[in-house]
Symmetry: C2
Subunit: 405 residues, 2 copies
């Protein structure tokens, strides 16, 4: 699959260590029904607003385009983020403790590069974001899975994995977690669960690397807990998030904040001259003006898409599978109950115009999840879901024939 | 000086290998008269045009913002670049042979990362762009200087350095050159000189790494030669350029094209998800519409600034120094003839509100050029040049007193 998915940084996941062969540089293949990548709804991009916001910000501060950007990124946007994080995620940082990057991918890449030496142990949710898994493997990490339930990482499993690594003389370098609308499992880790994770992290001195990039996509959760970062007084927690999911991936704008020593190291190894000021200026103004209304609209659209997808699954996969019931975010995780091999099915689905990620693509151990599928519901329209899942079910059908004889 | 210059990627030059200490993350210090960094004229940024161009492109193609960008970068812009290079620099590449990056810095960084193992020999003009020098050193290159005259690299010196390295069993990995409006020396390498460099490169199998990012800033040269790339049939030449100098550094948009094997390697190691689509879309439309008129205006402004700077130097430094007579580009290189130490003078100049790069900052060997200064004339207004150089001359004065007793 990696050959056809160059828009998919997650392809790096498929390669343990530096790639041996050429990377496909061909364009993203058109998939009629794309459940594969976390695109937002293309019809609801706030394009005209972004243009107006760019104009307004340029009028105010356009001369700064003549400068090379501040190495941490456009200061007004970092100031906005600092205030936003304090107001919504429960922790305070200075604007100068924040580094802007290209989406959340670049910050995650830099954290991986800064933290990991080959052989270092990193813990992650048993199914997680393949892009970061790819970066971890690229830097030679030994990624170990933490079991989860619908409330998040299981503390016993986390502690077990930490202790096991410590017993080997290899205290984990970090615990990578997506506690809010986890990709792909969809859970929101509860506040008590976050506190337990924080406690284990503190007790063993293993930093939490918190990826919060779906936090704004809340359409049904009544009361999101604060960030894990807010529960940690030590400053050890690494916090990464992005505007890719609440505005658009094409903006390539995300951020990271962590302890000064790690931030210094990240800044030192960062090889580029800072994110596009042009983009950061538009995003800053949009953040101040239209972002929240846009998020509200996006949430309503996503709720409708999730509902339509769940209805379509019930209709076409019925009792062959079960699936998560996410209260926000972009992902629904399906588990086949009839022995269907989703890796094999993915090829057949692609020929039917349906794209999705098999569970193996998201597995911390690289191999689990042949019975699972990650479906991103951000792209397809609600009225397309039924047809899309009908095609998917048909693609899964040969497996059913094989199993039932 | 590195502490105060975080906007200056070139600070990496000051560190041989990975930095040992914290990197300053403080904001760019205000310098009343800034000859330090290659900013364009802040009053001539095409801000309103960029906004309109963004709007037009979004109307045409805005839905693509919902996608993660093509890993090579926005295809229409690469198609435009392929046509532009064929029309103006004399060589043909496919759009898919081009990778967009964050300014020219990111492409140069990736080329360095892809090519260089610690200890590898890389040849460069005796004074050159400090940003790339920093990347070369960071990856452990052994950078060796090639002597130049006003016509570019001296072929005898180039061949000497190549042969010397070969005799050590260490054929150079590349020759890094800025043949058009060289930073800081200002020369435009003639066509015969480019052909000689190409011949030596071919004969020894040492690729030319051509950085052409000042090529559009031609205000007085009657007939720019084609790119070195155009003289090389082997495809060995690496070609990097950027929109930082013809639009604005804040856009962070540049590109590289090289042989397929090197492009594949660069794409494989590139850790981020592609340049901001948002920016690339605006730049694409602007390239199709207003870019050439903007370049024409910029050229006229730069000519006036260069003229004013040269007049101010004649007035205030007179026979204490000599300086280059660039026909384009952004830089003028001053050589003090009275023993003035420009590294020491830089501190005094900073306290007088004047910022510049001592020659040592640009030296391939890291130490030459204590008698030289690089003055970038892009930022200060023509009517400021006299006052600026008066301050500079005064800052240089204590040295004169020290020398003449």
């Amino acid at each position: 699959m990696s050959g056809g998915w160059p828009g998919f940084d997650e392809d790096l996941m498929a390669r343990q260590g530096p790639p041996a062969g050429p990377v496909s540089r061909s364009a993203h293949p058109a998939a009629r029904y794309d459940f594969g990548v976390a695109y937002p709804d293309p019809d609801s991009l706030p394009l005209e607003q972004l243009v107006e916001c760019l104009r307004e910000e340029l009028q105010r501060a356009g001369r700064s385009l003549a400068h090379y950007p501040h190495p941490l990124g456009y200061p007004p946007l970092r100031e906005w983020l600092a205030a936003r994080l304090a107001a919504t995620r429960g922790f305070s940082v200075d604007a100068d403790d924040i580094l802007l990057g290209s989406g959340s991918n670049e910050p995650n890449f830099l954290v991986a590069q800064a933290l990991i030496d080959p052989g270092d142990v990193v813990l992650a949710e048993e199914f997680t974001y393949a892009g970061t898994l790819g970066f971890l493997r690229r830097f030679g990490a030994d990624v170990r899975a933490v079991q989860c339930d619908t409330d998040g990482m299981l503390p016993d499993s986390l502690e077990y994995q930490v202790q096991a690594a410590v017993d080997e003389g290899r205290r984990p370098k970090a615990v990578y977690t997506i506690p809010t609308f986890q990709n792909p499992l969809g859970f929101v880790a509860s506040l008590p669960r976050r506190a337990e994770v924080t406690e284990i992290s503190a007790r063993y001195g293993v930093p939490v690397w918190e990826d919060d990039c779906y936090v704004d996509l809340n359409f049904d959760h009544p009361d999101l807990p604060p960030a894990i970062r807010s529960l940690d007084d030590s400053g050890r927690t690494i916090y990464v998030a992005s505007f890719s999911k609440n505005i658009a991936p094409g903006m390539r704008l995300g951020y990271v904040t962590a302890a000064p020593a790690l931030m210094d190291r990240i800044c030192a190894i960062k090889g580029t001259g800072g994110v596009s000021q042009f983009t950061a200026m538009a995003v800053h103004r949009f953040a101040q003006t239209g972002l929240d209304a846009h998020i509200e609209q996006a949430r309503n659209r996503l709720r409708a898409k999730r509902d339509a997808l769940q209805a379509a699954l019930a209709t076409h996969l019925g009792d062959r599978a079960c699936w998560t019931q996410p209260l926000g975010g972009l992902f629904l995780f399906v588990q086949m109950l009839d022995g269907t091999d989703t890796v094999a099915a993915a090829e057949r689905a692609a020929s039917r115009g349906v794209r999705f990620a098999p569970g193996t693509h998201t597995a911390a151990d690289g191999v689990s999840g042949r019975d699972r599928m990650r479906l991103c519901y951000g792209w397809n329209r609600p009225d397309e879901m039924a047809a899309a899942i009908a095609e998917l079910a048909a693609a899964l059908q040969p497996e059913l024939a094989a199993v039932t004889g």
